[in-house]
Amino acid sequence: MTETTPFKKLMTASALLAAAVTAAPAFAADGDSYTIATSADFPPLSYRDSEDTSKIIGFEMDMIEAMSEHGGWDYELKTSAFNGLLPSLKSGRVDMVVSDIYNTAERRKSVDFINYIENGFAVMVRAEDADSLTSYDDMCGKNIGILTGSAPEMDAVTAASEKHCESQGKPAIQPKSYPSVAQEIPQLANGRLSGILETLTTLAYAQSQNEGKFEIAFRDPNTTKVGIALRKNSEFADDIKQDMAWYMSSGKADENAKKWDIPVEALIKNDSE
């Protein structure tokens, strides 16, 4: 064993690291180019193409592509776990989040939204339970899957449980949190969950991919808006709003909605928020 080599190697490695760290490009949007983050796990809105997994496709991807072409701006797409999306936005790491983000009062305190879809919640159950579970009344005391950190979904379950179960003296609906819809599916299949509460578009896709196993049993009366999330007072917000207005009125939006099996009525043609 030569006595200095391992240490020299380490020193070289750390010197290289230091050099690379200081040489790393600074992170900033420069007006005409934006960094957009998505979790790429919400088909049909944004997800990886199973034919070519290097591509991220979906309604949202077509939407920002059309808007950027119209508005003459570039964008760089970043993928992140869902719970890292909004922190990255708030700290300035990314400029926009386009990832089926619900527009909620809580989130509006810290970010701005440009809405594009008004999505309703629905509850999906196993096909064999479809006859017995037809409304929230049938869900009392049962486990229902929601996404971790999704306040609208939690609120929907809490409100339904209060109205349909607890006020009638029945046991409450039990919300169970999972990091993604894909992780809820096996739990529904194996019986740990009796139902999954999720936006209709997402459930429709999941149902079609798991043919015959699940059915969308009933819809929640409440709806939630989905929008592009931006940092408060982003100077480019007006540009994006204009591009969105153009997109919704140009017919492109309708075309894309049909392409991705999204009801045209769900599109928000005139965003007043």
Binding site: R48, D49, T53, T79, S80, K90, R93, A182
Partner: protein
């Protein structure tokens, strides 16, 4: 489960890209954490309280908070202070900082598991602090550090999955995205699991390799077998020559030609006759111990000790346990500092700087020990367990005295042959008997050509039947004119070979003089009692020195 789908995902470029990203982050974070954690471990073991305490808050926070939060924190807070690292480099940095805290504690534990006596031995040989760490402590500590470090390597690989929250497209995020599209969770997650397992298996193999490399039992075993084979052929395993009859038993046939050793130790000086020494008339003392005082935690262990040692003298320090004799010995080569008084060897301070008022201890006494030429032999041998016999012997000549490796080897072989240990040069210390180990420890000290040798109870840890071979070797050294200070209870040996006996009790010299004076007519009742006690004990077991 669909096997073809599993194979499809196992080879999916997206997942492999994710794995590649994860592995690059893990390797960079691990490699970068190593030097820092080593540094932090050193800080935690510093002599200075402030340096020792400095890393504690860092370690406390890094170990005590979730790595997920740490990554989010660095990712989102560093840009606020103008350090806009990319997500990738933030992941490397975050994992590295977290690992430094864990790894530094592993390294510290490993380093602290090495006995202080190894440090003492290396220090006495004149190795510098850096050499002690690098050549003696670290290689041995690695045996306990390596498995724990492999754990940390695997932990880093798995923690890379958390980097997905800061927009790093790594394996777990990739697999979740794939699942969200096709819902083939079993196949996809299984494929991802296999990829992770492949990566961590590489680490396990690296650990395995490293441990085999560090495994002395295994290496030693192979050597022992080879040596055994050589002996059975009647060959000297060193030279391939047929060994002279009787040489293989080791130790019993010491070459009685002391002049060879004399020549090695003092080229150009004639052999001093033992009896002729005192006939030289007045000479300058070689070691001067002047009014030395020392306390440990307020307890005085040496009080005003003074005596001189002349060149070529063999001095025995005796006395009951706790009398301060070992402490006195250790102050001569400054393994212990003195509180008051001074000691010179050959007219020089060892590990002190001459100053206006009084000598000031140097931080690192190693160079000074080597220059003056003070060697030491310890009660528990303190051979370097990770080095072979030959490597033990040449360590100080090569590292400290700048002897060429080939020359050092040749000299070491000569000395080992002289001590009847030639055939053991490739053995590891733990494969040898205590007597053999102690003789090697003596040869190791002699190999630096010392002018003064200190022996701290060299036979106390030995089985009775092994004591003789060590005493024989010491006698040879005494005959060659070596100046020796010996802390020992071997009264019979002292009677025959000591020029001077110093009886200590309670940190003071109670009586000193020629052995016959001290042993035959102790003028002090305490000396008398002690000598009587020792002699009784010596008679109680087979005599060790009659045959000498």
């Amino acid at each position: 489960m669909d096997a073809s789908a599993f194979l499809h995902y196992l080879t999916l470029p997206l997942l492999w890209e994710g794995l590649k990203t994860a592995m690059i982050i893990a390797v960079l974070a691990f490699a970068a954490a190593l030097p820092f954690s080593l540094g932090m471990a050193m800080m935690r073991m510093s002599h200075y309280r402030i340096v020792r305490l400095l890393p504690i808050p860092f370690i406390w926070v890094m170990r005590g908070t979730p790595i997920l939060l740490q990554l989010l924190f660095w990712y989102n807070v560093l840009p606020l202070v103008g350090l806009g690292l990319s997500a990738f480099w933030t992941a490397v940095l975050g994992l590295m900082l977290n690992e430094i805290a864990f790894m530094s504690e592993i390294i510290r534990g490993g380093l602290q598991s090495i006995k202080k006596t190894q440090r003492d031995a290396a220090s006495a040989l004149g190795l510098s602090s850096w050499q002690i760490m690098h050549r003696v402590i670290m290689p041995q500590a690695m045996r306990s550090i390596a498995p724990a470090m492999a754990n940390e390597g695997m932990v880093i690989v798995k923690h890379t999955s958390l980097a997905s929250v800061i927009t790093v497209q790594e394996l777990t995020l990739s697999s979740e995205q794939v699942v969200s599209t096709n819902f083939q969770y079993v196949e996809v997650f299984l494929a991802a699991g296999v990829l992770y397992l492949g990566a961590t298996t590489l680490i396990a193999l690296a650990q395995n390799y490293l441990e085999r490399h560090l495994d002395l039992e295994r290496r030693g075993h192979a050597i022992a077998i080879a040596a055994q084979a050589g002996r059975e052929r009647g060959e000297n395993p060193l030279t391939g020559e047929t060994a002279p009859a009787g040489a293989e038993s080791g130790g019993k046939t010491i070459d009685t030609e002391a002049p060879a050793l004399q020549k090695f130790l003092n080229p150009g000086r004639a052999l001093a006759n033992k009896d002729g020494r005192r006939a030289d008339g007045p000479r300058r003392p070689y070691v001067v111990i002047n009014k030395v005082a020392k306390s440990f935690h307020g307890k005085r262990v040496l009080r005003d000790v003074s005596f001189n040692i002349f060149p070529g003298e063999v001095v025995f320090l005796i006395g009951p346990s706790g009398s301060g004799k070992t402490t006195l010995l250790r102050t001569i080569n400054r393994l212990e500092t003195v509180d008051d008084g001074e000691i010179t060897v050959g007219g020089q301070f060892v590990g002190y700087r001459a100053s206006a008022g009084r000598p000031v201890p140097l931080r690192d006494a190693a160079r000074s020990r080597a220059r003056v030429g003070v060697g030491m032999v310890f009660q528990h041998f303190n051979l370097f367990d990770h080095l072979t016999v030959l490597e033990n012997v040449i360590e100080a000549p090569v590292r400290v005295h700048g002897t060429k490796r080939d020359q050092a080897r040749a000299e070491a072989r000569e000395l080992l042959a002289w001590a009847g240990l030639a055939e053991y040069e490739n053995h590891y210390p733990h494969q040898l008997s205590g007597g053999q180990q102690q003789r090697i420890a003596i040869i190791r000290a002699v190999a630096t050509r010392p002018k003064l040798l200190l022996f701290d109870e060299p036979t106390s840890a030995l089985d009775p039947e092994l004591v003789n071979e060590v005493l024989d070797l010491m006698r040879k050294l005494a005959e060659s004119g070596m100046t020796m200070v010996v802390v020992s209870h071997e009264i019979v040996f002292a009677r025959d070979w000591a020029d001077k006996v110093v009886f200590m009790e309670d940190g003071e010299i109670v009586q000193h003089g020629a052995p016959e004076e001290v042993f035959n007519s102790p003028d002090n009742p305490r000396t008398k009692n002690f000598v009587h006690l020792i002699e009784q004990r010596s008679e109680g077991r087979p005599s060790k020195t009659q045959e000498v």
